[in-house]
Amino acid sequence: MSKVLVVEDAPSEMELLSHYLQQSGYLVISAMSAKDALNKAIELKPDIVVTDVIMPGMSGFTLCRSLRRHPETENVPIIICTSKNQEIDRFWGLRQGANVYMTKPFTQDDLIRAIKSVEG
């Protein structure tokens, strides 16, 4: 069973993402901030990281860069899931090390398809 680290500061969004992932048989590790997520990623070694961008403190982009810089997590697939929907945002997100850039709103199918595409 794949472990997915979900990084999201809004409890409702977190609930939704967790529900989608658990329904599709994934083990969800949740982190409410990017800093928390970075620690959990190094400690628990998730198979996939799904992160929001706009969060208080550290942003999702910074999280991407930090994950890529750390030897433990430099190869973990990252899916960015955000409401920032401009082309420049997508471009930047992918440059910061994300494998997939998804914009909200999305369906369960969208999410699972994105996860399957990066899941080894």
Binding site: I54, S59, F61, T62, S83, I88, D89
Partner: protein, 933 residues
């Protein structure tokens, strides 16, 4: 209002209604033929209001209804007024009766109380009590028995008691003994006044009963002094029994004491209540015997009566309320209502029936007119009425008929006009539907040509110089197209512009007969124009162009309606063009405005976001590399993150630099030591180089000695070489003579060979001769045979043949001998050639020996040359060796100098290192200003 007048008014209304119907009908027809709404007739409002309410009903029913209403309403009115009057009288009567009853009740109560007052006085003055002798002769028990006997006839008292002046009981009828009464009000009053007294009712709220004390002084029969006081206790239930027998069924009463408390009532639960609160109307000063009031929550109304004063009876100031139920009061009223209701209804029904019958007769004729007008109104214009009699309705019918005739003819005209208008409207609609200038003009010419059924329609637009171009055209098949043709008419501007601007139209019915400017004719003829119509397109007073139609098939008389239509079309096209232009301008303006507004908003948002970003970035500019910009929703979000990425890298870099400066400082210390030892080593190297230089100079001396020896060896080998050269020349001469000998022998051998070859040619000739002789012999034989055949004639010939044969044989024998000789010559020449070849071989051998000797000599010469060269090269080598060693010495010197310089440099390096350490420290300090964690 009389019935006749009612109907005449009604008839007037009805005619108004007919007018209304007619107008409705005309309206409907007009709407069918699409007349513009502004021309419709409007039905007058005042007539409308009455009929709109009745419109849903048929005429006959309406007249009947109105007649019935007019017949029945007065009957009902009279009935209602009668009822009202009677009702008032009845109510008054009822109230009066009740008032009288209450006054009589008051009287009754006063009288009853007066009797009881008399009773107590009688009791008080009885002999047993008043006469001292009698009183004193009796024992207590006998006294009681005597009292009972006195009281018994009255029967209605609960208790009669005699008290002494101190209030103690002397005697009583009731078995229950009574307490001392000295403090009671009545007791004291009687004692003081020496007169009989009636107390106010004593109310027992709990038991819902009340009683009244009657008290009287007992005076001694002899002295007249008060010796005791008698008191009779009257339960008021006794009074209630009296009242009950007086009041009627359904009536109720309330008795109030002087403080308005109810002490006796037909309903015992009212006892003890304050009447003021039950009857708010019953206030002091409002107690009017003629007023009625009701008790809240009770279907009763009450009348009021004050206390009836009687002589010899104290004024108790009681009040009496007597009430009757509402049902009792209203019963006669209901009966009255019933009788009046039935009577009125019967009268109304009768009046209604008569009215309906009368109205029906009148209505039928009007209905037929109405039906006809309605049919006309619905469009059945062939409807006509039959005329009968000679009254207003007949003339109305006649008018309706003539109106229908007129409507039919009008309708036909309208239909024609409407269809023209319809076409015109469709055309203008299509034109207005186009959204651009070209579309408008193209639609316009197409629609105009269709509308006027002509051969060509075109739009001609002017420029500033009043020169124009045909910009849109619709032309019938078979006629030349004029689209795009540019027409420059020099006289147009002066002659026509103003006229066209004022709305002038121009028409030609037949170009062949009309008298026009030849220049103009020249413009029309190329396009086969036979008749034309031209109308201006004027927009806001400015002539923008012309709309023209051409008839090419032949002359055409333009109808005024056509010209009118055409003119209207031109006006419409002008408007449509202007509208399109305006709309385009507006859209452009709107677009620009929207765009600038969007830009402004975008800019504002952007500036706000930028400001936010700058606030975050500020700390980083001050050196705090842990500062991060907030990544938000807008475009700035990316820039913020870009900044974050840079600051992250910078943070990383500064961390590395910090670490590096520390390491550099540490290692610089170590390096200084190393550089010092390097300086020492360089000094040592300089000394060693000097000693090496001495050895090199010794080596130079020995090499010079070797050079001298080599020069002597060279001289010796040169003389040996000269001797060998002389030997070589002698051998060369010997070889020359041997070669000449060899040539001589070769030439001799060649000559002998030629001799052999000549003899071989002889041999060939001989064999030829031999063959000839053989053939000759063969011929001789053949001749012999032939001769033999010939017999005798051949004998001579045979003999000749035999002699030829013999000669052939002898020739053959001679050739054989020559052959033998030649063979011998050949043998001998072969032997000579062999001998010559042997001699040549020997000469060659001799030549080779001499050659070998020469080669040996040459080798010797080469060897001495080689020795010479070697010696010379040794000499040269020694010379170069000397030079080399000199160079080495120089180098050594230089090395020594370099070593010295190295030593100096390393000292400098050491100094530099010390400076570098200082700089590194300084750098460390600078980097410290960056906050990285």
């Amino acid at each position: 209002m009389g019935k006749g007048t009612g109907f005449s008014v009604h008839l007037r209304d009805y005619f108004l209604y007919l007018l209304h119907l007619t107008l409705v009908m005309v309206d409907q027809i007009e709407s069918q033929i699409s007349t513009p709404p502004s021309r419709r007739l409007v039905t007058p409002r005042s007539q409308d209001s009455f009929f709109t309410r009745l419109t849903p009903l048929g005429l006959e029913k309406k007249i009947a209804a109105i007649a019935i209403i007019l017949g029945t309403l007065p009957v009902f009115g009279v009935g209602a007024i009668g009822y009202g009057l009677a009702n008032r009288a009845l109510t008054q009567q009822l109230a009066d009766t009740q008032q009288v009853s209450s006054v009589r009740l008051s009287d009754l109560i006063s009288r009853y109380m007066a009797q009881r007052y008399a009773d107590i006085q009688a009791i008080a003055s009885s002999a047993v009590l008043a006469n001292a002798k009698v009183r004193d002769s009796l024992s207590s028990t006998e006294r009681d028995a005597a009292l009972k006997r006195i009281v018994e006839p009255y029967g209605m008292y609960d208790d009669v008691a005699i008290f002494d002046l101190e209030g103690n009981v002397l005697s009583q009828t009731a078995s229950q003994s009574v307490a001392n009464q000295a403090n009671q009000d009545y007791f004291r009053t009687v004692l003081k006044t020496n007169k009989p007294f009636i107390s106010q009712p004593i109310i027992f709220s709990k038991e819902r009963t009340s009683e009244v004390y009657f008290a009287a002084p007992i005076k001694d029969a002899d002295t007249g002094k008060t010796i005791a006081i008698a008191r009779a206790d009257l339960p008021l239930a006794k009074l209630a029994d009296q009242i009950k027998s007086y009041t009627l069924v359904g009536q109720e009463y309330r008795l109030l004491n002087n403080s308005s408390e109810v002490f006796l009532a037909s309903q015992s639960d009212r006892i003890g209540r304050n009447a003021m609160s039950d009857f708010p109307e019953l206030r002091e000063g409002q107690r009017d015997p003629n007023r009625y009031f009701s008790e809240p929550g009770n279907r009763l109304f009450f009348s009021y009566a004050p206390w009836t004063k009687l002589d010899g009876l104290p004024d108790l100031n009681w009040q009496i309320l007597l009430g009757s139920t509402v049902e009792t009061a209203s019963q006669p009223r209901q009966q009255l209502l019933l009788i009046l209701g039935i009577g009125t209804s019967v009268a109304a029904v009768l009046a209604g029936c008569i009215a309906a019958w009368l109205s029906g007769r009148l209505a039928r004729r009007l209905t037929s007119v109405t039906t006809a007008i309605q049919a006309l109104g619905q469009g059945q214009l062939e409807t006509r009425l039959t005329l009968r009699g000679d009254d207003e309705i007949t003339s109305l019918s006649g008018s309706v008929n003539s109106m229908a005739d007129q409507l039919q003819s009008l309708l036909q005209q309208q239909v024609r006009h409407a269809s023209d208008l319809q076409c015109f409207n469709e055309a203008t609609f299509h034109i207005r539907k186009s959204l651009d200038v070209d579309g408008v003009m193209q639609t316009a010419v197409r629609e105009v040509r269709r509308l006027l059924e002509c051969d060509r329609a075109l739009v001609y637009l002017f420029d500033e110089q009043w020169q124009g171009t045909i910009v849109a055209e619709s032309v019938a098949l078979g006629y030349p197209a004029s689209l795009g043709v540019n027409i420059a008419d020099p006289c147009f501007a002066q002659q026509f512009v103003d006229k066209y601007r004022q709305g002038r139209m121009h028409s030609i019915s037949n170009l062949d007969t009309v008298d026009i400017d030849p220049c103009y004719r020249g413009q029309l003829e190329p396009f086969h124009v036979k008749a034309n119509l031209v109308a201006p397109m004027v927009v806001e007073g400015k002539l923008i162009g012309l709309l023209a139609v051409h008839q090419c098939s032949g002359p055409r008389d333009w109808q005024s309606s056509e010209m009118n239509l055409f003119y209207q079309m031109a006006v419409h096209v002008g408007f449509a063009l202007e509208q399109v232009r305006l709309v385009e301008q507006e859209q452009k303006l709107l677009h620009v405005e929207t765009l600038s507004e969007e830009r402004r908003q975008h800019k504002e948002t952007f500036q706000f976001q930028l400001l936010e970003l700058l606030q975050h970035v500020e700390k980083a500019a001050m050196g705090d590399l842990t500062a991060r910009a907030m990544v938000g929703e807008g475009e700035i979000g990316i820039i913020a993150d870009f900044f974050n990425a840079i600051v992250e890298n910078l943070q990383h870099l500064v961390q590395q630099v910090k670490q590096a400066t520390v390491e550099v400082s540490a290692s610089l210390g170590n390096h200084e030591v190393a550089v010092r030892s390097l300086s020492t080593d360089a000094d040592l190297q300089a000394q060693e180089t000097a000693s090496t230089l001495a050895s090199v100079e010794q080596m130079i001396t020995s090499i010079k000695t070797v050079a001298q020896s080599a020069q002597q060896a060279a001289i010796v080998s040169q003389s040996a070489s000269a001797t060998a050269e002389t030997g070589g020349l002698a051998i060369d001469a010997t070889v020359q003579s041997i070669v000449e000998l060899r040539q001589t022998i070769g030439e001799t051998a060649k000559k002998v060979k030629r001799l052999g070859e000549a003899s071989q040619q002889i041999s060939k000739v001989v064999s030829l001769i031999n063959q000839i002789s053989v053939q000759t012999n063969m011929l001789a034989i053949n001749a012999g045979i032939e001769a033999a055949r010939a017999g005798k004639e051949g004998q001579g010939f045979a003999t000749v043949a035999d002699e030829v044969a013999a000669l052939a044989v002898r020739a053959s024998e001679a050739t054989q001998e020559i052959e033998h000789l030649v063979l011998n010559i050949q043998q001998e020449t072969g032997e000579v050639i062999d001998a010559m070849e042997q001699g040549t071989a020997q000469v060659v051998e001799g030549t080779q020996c001499v050659e070998d000797a020469k080669q040996s000599l040459e080798q010797m010469m080469k060897a001495s040359h080689g020795i010479n060269q070697l010696v010379q090269s040794i000499s040269l080598a020694t010379e170069s060796q000397v030079e080399t060693t000199h160079a080495i010495a120089t180098l050594m010197h230089e090395i020594a100098q370099v070593a010295e310089r190295t030593s100096n440099s390393s000292i400098q390096v050491s100094d530099s290192l010390r400076q570098t350490t200082a700089i590194a420290k300084e750098l460390q300090g600078s980097v410290e200003t960056f906050k990285v964690s």
